[in-house]
Symmetry: C2
Subunit: 484 residues, 2 copies
């Protein structure tokens, strides 16, 4: 009972943290549509930065962008048995259009495997047409019971990659390649470390042969599935007759993959990087990396300050440092400082008349909350560039340290319970693969197997299955956590 | 009767031109969803190029991107009387979601004035919050009776700008500024000349105070409304209570604008630039500006050709020339040449072993279909860069010449009929503003007033109204045409 209350408080806390940061930093706002949010300019600019980085990765690995209809004939969903079972309950349905009832209803895409396969079947006839590697940036709709800003919204923005290959192995290679790109995106750019691994049967994508995910740890101790990559094998190809003639002149169904990340990534950034003041943005995805606040007086000294600030701006531009110059004169410095701290702007640069006379400026680092006075004005852009790199690295290290502190190897259910309810974070344990035992986790601890990581990463082969207590050669190490 | 048959043939012709080019160039494909198309990678890459150019223009003029829900509560649409009348018949309606019938139905956004105003009302309270200048890149749905690839599809991609201002004049200035940006986009980048002007009352946006458009002339002699910019005045602000406190501490409703262009622009490119072979792409929006075709033999000479081609590629990259290198060895040159001509690639560069030995390469210009042999290999990238600029200019000039040839000043209905049914293109005429006379145009000629251009552009103040025959001081010159 006590545990339950604590858990509820904890949930409430982390939900209010997310909400407060998202609203105060003007990343998003509630909308009048159930479960849908409005992404405000500051939040959308983060999305644009993430999108530009990932889009380049996707294109550099040989994929091309395209666009498919958002409306999917309801009958398409039915064609793959597991798929319809998984998605039908979450679908929004268009039944009327142009003032009439439709003879065939349409669902708003919850994901596009079905409609894309319909087209693939038309476009592919020979092994020469393979591999076919397509990506789509789009909005999707999943009618969720319980929603949270960025982490789970009824409509969200994402990219979905869809590829066709001539063999299972090639599809598997693609699945893992894109998983590794997601890992790179999160660690190198979002400064959010992730575990990669396979999902269990009960957690895999509806219709996939196997699903892999990246799993991040948020600062409230909960795990977040931040992206998935699926080897679909021939499941959808068989349902949609996506066939090709092989080099040996045989007919075979295409081997496919699909993979996606969404605006949930902004949720990962919020819950992965914040403190009691608000958001802390990694420089590589910050809408502006430096905010320049001039100290304005009601006298002629402003000319010096404004002139010098403009010179600094030119120096920042030359080094590709993004900036915002806030010279509003009807708002106090203190209010400005607070606004940009809540928004997580990596560096604040204060330019004042007295400092300038002595050849100095002032720097404030958002991540460490440390202020440095008397920073030489000369060479400031280089100094900031280097500091931004440091902040980017430090944020990743901070997150890695946090994850290390919040990851325990557990040998029995008591230890597991202690991790899940008190220490929070990841528990590493062995599992014999029994689905019934996995179900226990959800019932008893409201936790789940986040993934089965690459076993070579781990060193715990001698530990018995945490549920059955048996040492068994096929035991696999798993990562368990409470999750969003 | 004869006229009617001719008109039908003409319509069929231009429709099959559009369809053939779009399908053969793999810009788009038909989808299984009524009136919706699939935008294939080659078509989507054009959209990405257009988007990048326009997005920069939008940001450079002080607008920020954001994202609003696609689902709009049906009741929102009702709040502005003209708006609901205009859009309700075209709406697709979500009535069920999550397995249940919804208590409030949602329409798929046909445009977002209503939901955005709901948010504006929340965000704006003082003149200090103004101007508020937002843009959204999104998909929209309008249930059209008759659809055509790119030019009119049930779902399409677009951007919609939405701004709030403290005065009518400022809103008007914004409306015309964005109209001028659209003109710049089309003329400087798409090489499609446009007339700008105001729409008549019967053609304006449902809910606007006034609508301005850019009107292009397609190569089949029909006009195309390629973009619109609306001064909404306070119409939506009043419906949604989007109020602000003025500098004088009074309450006023915000003065608003909205403006949009869509994937229809790709239709404008197709119908504005083609010949009997297929598409001709303006270099600035071509997915690749140069296709490099190496002449491959089944012997060691290939090494020279491939090595040299790779050097050329490095030189092109250094000058930011986009390229495609087609070294497929299982497809004949002739088939490759044909493919890239249909796709409208501005320049084909052929690299063969014999030419190379003599220090030459071969260039083919798509727009003029002219081939130049013995082009010096040395300095080829600079040569191509300059040629791409020439092609860009020539395409605009070709379109301007065509428009000039297909624009006639008409003084009576016989002359008008001759233009509309035989000469095709724009007819310039005077009009006294009588709506009943405007209706005649549609009934009798299946044509419409495309816009009332800036009167200073014109020199025909002494001509009587084409319908009434009366010279009247408020007569205005109008552009009449058959249109898509």
């Amino acid at each position: 009972m006590k545990g339950q209350t604590k858990e509820k408080d904890h949930l409430k806390d982390s939900e209010s943290v997310l909400t407060d940061i998202a609203l105060n930093a003007q990343l998003a706002d509630y909308s009048p549509v159930k479960g849908c949010m409005v992404i405000r300019p500051y939040g959308y600019a983060i999305w644009e930065n993430i999108k530009a980085i990932l889009d380049k990765m996707i294109k550099d690995t040989g994929h091309e962008n395209a666009y498919f209809p958002m409306l999917i004939p309801e009958s398409f969903l039915q064609k793959e048995a597991e798929h319809v079972e998984g998605f039908a309950p979450e679908c929004a349905v268009v039944t009327h259009a142009g003032g009439k009832e439709l003879t065939e209803k349409y669902v708003l895409r919850p994901t596009s495997e079905t409609i894309i396969n319909h087209m693939f079947a038309k476009w592919i006839s020979s092994y020469r047409d393979l591999p076919l590697k397509i990506n789509q940036w789009a909005n999707v709709v999943r009618w969720e019971m319980r929603t949270r800003l960025f982490l789970r919204t009824t409509e969200f923005l994402w990219q979905e990659g869809h590829t066709c290959h001539a063999s299972f192995d090639e599809a598997q290679e693609e699945t893992l390649l894109m998983l590794s790109k997601y890992k790179e995106l999160l660690e190198e750019h979002l400064a959010v470390p992730v575990h990669t691994g396979m999902k269990t049967e009960s957690e895999k994508f509806a219709g996939a042969h196997s699903t892999y995910s990246i799993e991040a740890l948020m600062r409230d101790g909960k795990a977040l599935q931040a992206g998935t990559s699926h080897n679909l094998a021939q499941n959808f190809a068989k349902a949609f007759e996506t066939k090709f003639t092989t080099e040996n002149n045989q007919q075979d169904f295409a081997y496919q993959t699909s993979w996606g990340v969404s605006t949930r990534l902004i949720g990962a950034v919020i819950m992965g990087h914040h403190d009691e003041i608000g958001l802390i943005l990694p420089p590589r995805i910050a809408p502006y990396q430096v905010v320049i606040v001039p100290i304005l007086k009601k006298n002629d000294e402003n000319i010096l300050v404004l002139t010098e600030a403009k010179k600094i701006i030119e120096e920042l531009k030359a080094l590709n440092i993004s900036y915002k110059f806030d010279d509003r004169d009807n708002i106090s410095q203190g209010i400005k400082f607070n606004e940009y701290e809540q928004k997580g702007v990596p560096i604040r640069l204060v330019v004042g008349p007295k400092d300038l006379e002595n050849g100095f400026v002032e720097i404030h680092r958002r991540d460490t909350k440390s202020k440095e006075k008397d920073v030489p004005r000369a060479g400031i852009a280089e100094r900031l560039k280097s500091l931004l790199d440091t902040i980017q690295k430090d944020l990743l290290q901070r997150a890695l340290d946090y994850r290390k502190e919040h990851t325990q190897t557990v040998k029995n259910l008591d230890e597991l319970e202690d991790v899940l309810n008190n220490k929070t974070g990841f528990a590493r344990a062995m599992w014999n693969g029994d689905v019934a035992l996995e179900a226990l986790l959800k019932e008893r601890f409201k936790a789940s197997i986040r993934c089965i990581p690459d076993q070579r990463e781990l060193d715990a082969k001698i530990i018995p299955c945490i549920f059955s207590g048996i040492v068994y050669q096929n035991n696999k190490e798993i990562l368990i956590a409470k999750a969003y």
